[in-house]
């Protein structure tokens, strides 16, 4: 394919620069950049830095800033020199306890709770104890408005998605897949392992509220056993 190559940052890095480790800027069409970070944690830190610079008026016009699992998308980039400059930024690691925190009451009673307990090698009460004892953070959103991908569980507690997705997962279902925890803001098909439910899922998404999503990127989350 005879297409123009990356504007900056692709391929090997040379010594002596100040690029954050593992950072690459990939083109995503004529006016968007996908910033690939080395890890989820690095992506969260880079996203926080983007928001900080935007709030301080240091970021040139960018239409949308969309975090992903290990990337941040800058869509609607008016400044063609931005790609090069991003690579020179010093990005501080995300401080622990940064960002707003919400507590979400949940009941650990999901249909896949026993299976997850088996995978973790504990009983179901211990799944609830471990999960509610973990501090999560919304890494990014997607799948549906207000669906946040929450990180925080240690890597060895990752569980695979179900081999066959359910055709209908109810609103408020608390579910796990890979490194992520999520709560379905509305009923939809879904393949994650359901370990519980949120009694009041209506608070997850409300387009008349600001912000519309309770679990927007960067929000810290703790699940609290209800009842």
């Amino acid at each position: 394919m005879r297409m123009r190559r990356e504007p900056a940052g692709s391929g090997g890095r040379t010594g002596g620069d100040t690029r954050p480790a593992g950072l690459r800027v990939l083109p995503a069409g004529p006016d968007a950049l996908l910033v690939e970070c080395g890890s989820g944690e690095a992506a969260e830190a880079f996203h926080a830095e983007l928001l900080r610079r935007r709030a301080e008026g240091e970021l040139p016009a960018v239409g949308e800033i969309v975090p992903g699992a290990r990337t941040v998308l800058l869509d609607g980039v008016g400044d063609r020199t931005l790609a090069r400059r991003l690579l020179t930024w010093a990005v501080p690691p995300l401080p622990r306890g940064a960002g707003t925190a919400v507590e979400i009451p949940v009941v650990y009673d999901g249909p896949d709770l026993a299976e997850v307990a088996g995978a973790w090698g504990v009983d179901t009460a211990e799944v609830a104890r471990i999960h509610s004892g973990t501090e999560f953070r919304v890494a990014f959103c997607g799948f549906a408005p207000g669906f946040g991908y929450l990180t925080g569980l240690p890597g060895h507690l990752g569980v695979p998605r179900r081999a066959t997705p359910r055709t209908r997962v109810p609103a408020g279902a608390l579910a796990l897949a890979g490194p992520y925890t999520g709560v379905y803001p509305r009923a939809s098909p879904g393949g994650w392992q359901i370990v519980g439910h949120m009694p009041e899922p209506d608070t997850l998404w409300d387009p008349e509220r600001e912000p519309a999503a309770l679990l927007g990127p960067g929000v810290r989350v703790r699940f609290v056993e209800a009842g």
């Binding site: 394919m1 005879r2 297409m3 123009r4 190559r5 990356e6 990939l26 083109p27 995503a28 069409g29 004529p30 968007a32 996908l34 690939e36 989820g40 239409g63 949308e64 800033i65 969309v66 975090p67 992903g68 699992a69 290990r70 990337t71 941040v72 998308l73 869509d75 990014f140 959103c141 997607g142 799948f143 549906a144 408005p145 207000g146 669906f147 991908y149 209908r168 609103a171 509305r186 009923a187 939809s188 209506d202 998404w205 409300d206 387009p207 008349e208 912000p211 519309a212 999503a213 927007g216 990127p217």
Partner: protein, 311 residues
């Protein structure tokens, strides 16, 4: 009023009844057609919360229909799909209606009326936009504009996330805004409706994951002829043609996606993401079609040849 997008919810049916615009002017849906939705310029700035942009797929057609109807360019219109629709204006002695986008026969109470120009429809008469003769998506602009409630700043229906007014059904009532229908439409001597492409040529820019494909696959993508699949919808233009082979296996962690992203799912057939596309996704994006080239994609009927050319 509950405006969330619950499964099977019909909140917003009749799109606010007449309580939104307050003028009492409205249209009654006599024949909703295969897939007719309310669309404006869409909602921007919410992708980070998983909210697609939505909006009329053929933006220039939406703007032109609005101008001819005497509306601001971003007024909400009806977007029809292939089979058109029929509506009965009410609440004013007459209502200006412009049918544009896909070319079709237009009638008022069975008598031929102009396509692509303002038509004064008397109260109680039925305006019918017939099946598309050329193209796929028709646009009906009404003097005063549709004024269903805004969700996150837009009146557009979003079929992926269910935000905005639901897909139209027979019998729905949609409120119109404006000053009571006193204004006429805006006549014009010549108007540029591009129409349906005989061959859809899509300029392709590099996507973030083109390195995930073999050189042979990248060559195939820009030399082979694909065709528009009947599985296409407002989320994506699906294609039929030679599958693209990846140079690497494994899963791609979810990452943000832009309008026009050409994503390649495991079957290897490129999908061009349109306005209702998910905001993050996990299949590699091999290239990106510039947004300005997508209105033509909105009008390309299934079977239309598609050529991706390096931008």
């Amino acid at each position: 009023m509950n405006r969330r997008a619950g499964e099977g919810e019909v909140a917003g049916r009749a799109a606010g009844g007449g309580g939104v615009g307050g003028t009492g002017r409205r249209i009654e849906v006599v024949r909703a057609g295969a897939l007719t939705t309310v669309q404006d310029a869409g909602r921007r700035g919410w992708a980070h919360l998983g909210v697609p942009r939505a909006g009329a797929l053929d933006g220039p057609a939406r703007i032109l229909a609005n101008r001819l109807a005497g509306n601001p360019p971003d007024a909400a219109v009806l977007e029809t799909t292939l089979t058109g629709c029929a509506v009965r204006p009410a609440g004013a002695p007459y209502t200006v209606v412009v049918v544009g986008g896909a070319v079709c026969r237009v009638t008022v109470d069975g008598r031929p009326a102009a396509w692509g120009a303002p038509v004064r429809v008397p109260e109680g008469s039925v305006l019918e936009a017939g099946p598309a003769l050329r193209g796929l998506r028709g646009y009906l602009a009404f003097g005063g504009g549709l004024v269903s409630e805004r969700v996150l700043g837009s009146r557009s229906a979003d079929l992926l996330s269910g935000l905005g007014p639901p897909v139209l059904r027979d019998g729905d009532v949609l409120p119109l805004g404006g000053d009571g229908g006193g204004r006429g439409g805006c006549p014009a001597d010549a108007v540029p409706w591009p129409g349906a492409p005989a061959e859809l040529v899509l300029p392709l820019w590099p996507g973030p994951r083109h390195a995930w494909f073999t050189p042979a696959a990248l060559h195939t993508l820009t030399t082979a002829v694909y065709r528009v699949s009947a599985q296409s919808n407002r989320i994506g233009l699906r294609t039929e043609g030679p599958p693209l082979e990846r140079s690497r296996s494994g899963e791609l962690p979810s990452e943000g996606m832009v309008l026009g992203a050409v994503q390649v799912p495991p079957d290897g057939r490129p999908v061009v993401f349109l306005n209702d596309h998910p905001t993050t996704g996990g299949y590699p994006v091999v290239g990106v079609v510039a947004a300005s080239a997508l209105p033509a994609a909105a009008q390309a009927v299934p079977g239309t040849p598609v050529r991706f050319v390096a931008a």
